[in-house]
């Protein structure tokens, strides 16, 4: 079991998608999910850790060993890409045994390792097939087996399941989870899918514009996002500008208790379950229903109030009419997390994990 530490890693590209001063630490055996909008630098970070790209600044340490100046083949990190990238001229067994062959491993040992790896990914019996005879899902599993056979200390995965269809993706996630538990492999998993990140990651790191915005458990990121991008990424929340005075946040949609920021101009992160809708009575401030639809045992309503659009979650039978155009009374139930948006400050991973 080894840990991965990245310190002040920076790589600038002329056209964007670079990384800036990234500080990251993955504990031994941890699966750290890396999310962010496209172009935020997630792949660049992974490639720099793998050694495929040289950083402008910063260090990478695997298991306490500084690997920054080492070429990719000497780093004990293996990377898995979005495409399986199996070698077409080798059989499945040949592919999986590739890393062993490079090291000149004993033939019988290699065969045993290959068999073990294929068993782990549930592809026994396919050793003699060629990649073009396999389905997409099978190919990606062979790629995984190939990576495992290389016995890496850190596994880097760059959106490896995004090319697969939904049920296959769920299967692969299960496989990865099982793998991680069995082998306690440290993994860095990049995805653009928030749900996948929450399902897989022990912790989640959010990146934006080349910088690390926040790292923490999914619940932390959901309850207490440190920046707008994190709040938006986990969805379901409306960001409403307001001002906090003595613990109360005053906004266009009303006042409510505030958490997080203690004063000044803020963005209130109003989650759908904090928006309470009630039948409207004359004299009350008016909010209007824009749209209602049924989703998984609940009703999701889009409501407009004072120019702000909010999402509300209700029981399926709320006891009053909920049609588009209908006026309703709206109340925000706090405490609501409020953030002071400071674009260039990057929270240190150490302070956040102490939360």
């Amino acid at each position: 079991m080894s840990d991965l530490v990245v310190h002040d890693l920076t790589k600038r590209y002329g056209g964007g998608a670079g990384i800036e001063a990234i500080d990251l630490a993955a504990a031994p055996g941890e699966l750290l999910a890396l999310v962010g909008p496209s172009g935020c630098g997630k792949s660049t970070l992974l490639r720099t850790i793998a050694g495929l790209t040289a950083p402008d600044r910063g260090r990478v340490q695997v298991d306490g060993r500084d690997v920054t100046d080492l070429p990719p083949e000497r780093r004990s990190t293996v990377m898995l890409f979005q495409q399986p990238l199996l070698f077409p001229h080798l059989t499945v067994a040949g592919n999986v045994a590739f890393s062993l062959r490079l090291r000149g491993a004993d033939r019988r040992e290699a065969a045993a390792t290959v068999a073990g790896a294929l068993r782990t990914v549930q592809l026994e019996g396919l050793d003699h097939r060629y990649p073009d005879q396999l389905s997409g899902g099978q190919q990606q599993r062979v790629a995984l087996a190939r990576a495992l056979a290389a016995a890496p200390q850190v596994l880097l995965l760059d959106e490896p399941f995004s090319a697969l269809d939904a049920p296959l993706r769920a299967e692969m996630r299960e496989l990865l989870r099982r793998l991680q538990r069995q082998r306690s492999l440290t993994m860095l998993f990049v995805t653009h899918d928030q749900e996948e990140a929450s399902l897989l990651g022990d912790r989640i790191a959010v990146m934006q514009a080349g910088r690390l915005r926040q790292i923490g458990a999914a619940a932390d990121l959901y309850d207490r996002p440190a920046s707008e991008v994190v709040a938006r990424f986990f969805g379901g929340a409306a960001l409403v500008p307001g001002r906090v005075i003595e613990g109360q946040c005053f906004t266009e949609v009303g006042p409510f208790p505030a958490n997080g920021a203690t004063g000044g101009d803020v963005l209130a992160v109003i989650r759908a379950d904090q928006v309470i809708l009630q039948p409207w009575r004359a004299g009350q401030p008016e909010a209007r229903i824009l749209d209602v639809h049924f989703a998984g045992g609940l009703l999701l309503a889009q409501v407009e109030c004072a120019g702000v659009v909010l999402q509300a979650r209700l029981q399926v039978h709320p006891g009053f009419a909920l049609a588009p155009g209908q006026p309703v009374a709206l109340r925000i139930q706090g405490p609501v997390w409020c953030l002071k948006e400071e674009v260039d400050r990057c929270p240190s991973p150490l302070t956040l994990s102490a939360d």
């Binding site: 793998a50 050694g51 495929l52 070429p71 990719p72 083949e73 780093r75 990190t77 293996v78 990377m79 890409f81 495409q83 990238l85 070698f87 077409p88 001229h89 590739f98 890393s99 062959r101 490079l102 090291r103 060629y130 073009d132 190939r146 990576a147 290389a150 880097l156």
Partner: protein
């Protein structure tokens, strides 16, 4: 469709076979009056010079192929993977010899090659054969490299391969079909050259085409036919073998 191809290509060759074993085939007979292996016996005998001509042809063709690979593969890598200024000019230069006959250039080169002592020698012939042949290898190598996914090599690197290992175990096998097709083409082109070999070889370097030519412009028909067969059949075999090998990769190579 296969029958049509066979007809179009196969049928015209049939009289060659007949002629090679004919003894007197005069108008208006549809078949030779008598049969004889005289032409083949002659070819097998030393005065015919078949052995040395074949050896010379093969030696030159092999040399041309090897040189073309050494020179053309890097060029193909540049054209297939990099973007750079002057690219169109380079492509134009590389494409010219395919359509512009190399004979004109060979005629211009002759005085210089004389001065360098390269005429009347296989070395000089190898050099001029490169003119029509090299562009084809460059095209094949370019196509091969263009079809490579750069990520595949990087994947090999993260799995523990040094750059040399990645090249040998991953890149080269991926390029092999395209390079094999290109090399095969270069080999055939060099084998079939007549004028270039004549101009620079000065008649001293005798390859198969040079041996064959006089028989065609008016000579013993039987020997000419036999020689034509000696020329064509191995080439056919080579192509068939190459295609069977390429098929093993389940890839179709288009030049």
């Amino acid at each position: 469709m296969r029958r049509l191809s066979l007809l179009w290509f196969g049928l015209p060759l049939v009289p060659l076979v007949l002629w090679s074993v004919a003894f007197g085939w005069r108008w208006p007979d549809l078949l030779p009056a008598a049969w004889s292996f005289r032409a083949w016996h002659y070819l097998g005998s030393p005065p015919a010079g078949l052995g040395p001509a074949v050896a010379e042809s093969l030696f030159i063709a092999l040399a041309v192929t090897l040189l073309a690979l050494l020179i053309g593969v890097p060029a193909g890598k540049a054209l297939g993977t990099c973007t750079f200024r002057g690219r169109r000019a380079v492509e134009f230069l590389f494409y010219l010899p395919i359509m512009v006959p190399g004979a004109s250039a060979a005629m211009g080169l002759q005085p210089w090659l004389i001065r360098l002592g390269l005429t009347d020698r296989p070395a000089g012939v190898v050099l001029v054969h490169l003119i029509p042949a090299l562009p084809y290898l460059i095209r094949a190598a370019t196509a091969g490299y263009a079809a490579l996914d750069p990520l595949v090599e990087q994947q090999a690197r993260t799995l523990g391969a040094t750059p040399a290992q990645a090249w040998r175990l991953v890149v080269l096998p991926a390029l092999a079909p395209a390079l094999a097709a290109g090399a095969g083409l270069v080999f055939i082109i060099s084998l079939s050259q007549y004028l270039l070999t004549l101009l620079i070889g000065g008649g001293k370097v005798v390859t198969l085409p040079l041996l064959l030519f006089p028989f065609i412009s008016g000579g013993d028909r039987a020997i000419g036919a036999a020689l034509s067969l000696v020329f064509t059949v191995p080439g056919l075999l080579l192509f068939w073998l190459l295609d069977a090998w390429l098929r093993r990769y389940r890839l179709e190579v288009r030049l």
